[in-house]
Amino acid sequence: MTVAPFLEIEKLGVQFGGIRALSDVSFICQRGELLAIIGPNGAGKSSLFNALTGVYPADGRITFDGRPLIGRRPAEIAHLGIARTFQNVGLFEPLSVLDNVLIGRHVLMRGGVAAGALWIGRAKREDRAARLHCHELLHLLDLRQYKDEPVRSLPFGIKKRVELARALAAEPSLLLLDEPVAGMNSDESRAISELVLRLWESMSLTIMLVEHDMPVVMSIAQNVLVLDFGKVIGYGAPDEIKRNPRVIEAYLGVADDTDSVVERSLHEALS
């Protein structure tokens, strides 16, 4: 008997008016895998995450842990165990770091609204446990000193870590990371990729990672999915991807200034 894949995506399509952001995307992500998704700007990487989390309406089929996802609302999908971070950080800016992380935890809490407001019963015990767990996460991600700061006052790199903490607070079985090292210098990005790797191993997570930073991708991903113009043009281990002629063409064949950084980093990774 074969085990059903953890996440199976079949003929996924996303359409905005006349623009096809994704078409006929099919792939499988196994439990415990660290899968990177790469592709030039506008290839549909973020659209894929948005389709997965129910933000964009999509056609085709997504089966996560035996359950269909298409047609579900973002909140439902969050409750099924999928957490994400955003390319441009989707934190609640006026709220404190701790409150942001607590919100990530809320999907796991079952106590009633009134009980929570009155600080009684199960809701009270849950709340205590949630705060304890979030404090541990802040410690793990070295964020304790910012606990009570409003997020809007923090530098971008710290915000990225807060967002990671919020996603982890939900104890997700699938974690979607959208460009976790974007806008960071090489030291910071190395620290974050080491952190992601450490969390992936210690928490037995399944991670899908969108990233432009090729050295990061090639060093931590088990498998790489390559998108271009909304279609899958390559899938395989990092070593195979480096040699895939269609991937090389997609990255190097187009003379597009916006992708020059990516090209350079791919060059470095390939050489």
């Binding site: 989390t53 609302r73 909140a75 934190l91 609640f92 006026p94 609204v113 949630a130």
Partner: protein, 303 residues
């Protein structure tokens, strides 16, 4: 003409103005909470005021239920009514109807409530006595009524309770998250239904309590005109910057005091009802000087 100015009068007017301002603050906070959680301005606050006053009158004055029990029962009932209105009416319009259509629906609900109240209890002012008595406490030469002390005291307690709720409780944190970024909050698994239902319940509780305080004899009795205070309380809402709870509270106090000063100091030639226009004059002046309101943020729109 000699202006009757004395420190005693000033203190007296300030004290009464703060009591009125507390009620404006409660009502204004109700507007702000629904606006922040739902993204729509509900003009139904007046309905909560009317029902709060009339139902308390019915329970307390007609059926002899003790005042405290009557208020607790009415507040609980109106909280449920708020949830029901959101669930039955507002929720159906969400997403499909234009925002302004929802505002109009809340006005329709308010008009329906006014008619229902008038049909049930008539237009004559009703008396539910003064549960706090009519005595005054003398602070130096200033006489402050027991009612005003109760109003200010309860408002402080209620505001403190809501502050703690919003700061620490799960639903409070969720509501602040929704106010900060609605879509991102839903993506985190926060239920829009819970947040919106709770916001309507809170607005109902605040409106009902203000309605009760405005319906006691010292305040003029239970009349169908009580809901006018809700429109006056829109002034502090806008004054405070529409989405700032602290701004709404400060705005309420400022407008309340301004209204009492107008009642005390405006020359007779301005007419007897001049003070009731005062909230709108304050609003007008604030909008001229600071269009985004006291604590509001300037909206930057992408061109």
């Amino acid at each position: 003409m000699i202006l009757a100015f004395s420190l005693t009068t000033l203190g007296q007017l300030t004290a009464s103005g703060l009591a009125l301002g507390c009620l404006y603050a409660l009502i204004a906070l109700g507007f702000v909470i629904i606006l922040k959680a739902n993204g729509i301005l509900s003009l139904y606050q007046g309905g909560f005021l009317l029902l709060g006053a009339y139902l308390t009158y019915q329970l307390h004055a007609k059926w002899g239920v003790s005042f405290v029990l009557a208020v607790l029962a009415v507040v609980a009932g109106i909280a449920l009514l708020g949830v029901a209105l959101e669930f039955v009416v507002i929720r159906r319009l969400r997403g499909s109807a234009a925002e302004f259509a929802v505002v109009l629906v809340t006005i329709g609900l308010l008009l329906a409530t006014q008619s229902l109240v008038a049909a049930t209890w008539g237009y004559t002012p009703l008396n539910m006595d003064d549960p706090w008595g009519l005595k005054n406490v003398h602070l130096g030469s200033i006489a402050v009524s027991h009612r005003d002390i109760w109003v200010v005291g309860s408002t402080v307690v209620i505001l403190a309770a809501f502050f703690v709720l919003f700061k620490y409780s799960r639903v409070g944190i969720a509501m602040r998250a929704v106010a900060s970024d609605r879509e991102a909050a839903y993506a985190q698994g926060i239920s829009p239904n819970v947040v919106m239902g709770v916001s309507w319940a809170i607005a109902g509780i605040l409106g009902a309590l203000a309605g009760v305080a405005m319906g006691t004899a010292a305040a003029g009795g239970v009349t169908v005109g009580i809901d006018q205070a809700a429109f006056a309380a829109l002034a502090p809402v806008i004054f405070g910057g529409l989405t700032s709870p602290a701004g709404a509270v400060i705005g309420g106090l400022v407008v309340g005091v301004a209204q009492l000063f107008a009642a005390g100091y405006a020359p007779e030639s301005f007419g007897g009802g001049f003070s009731t226009v005062m909230p709108y004059i304050v609003l007008f002046v604030v909008l001229l000087i600071r269009p985004q309101g006291l604590l509001g943020k300037k909206q930057v729109r992408r061109a």
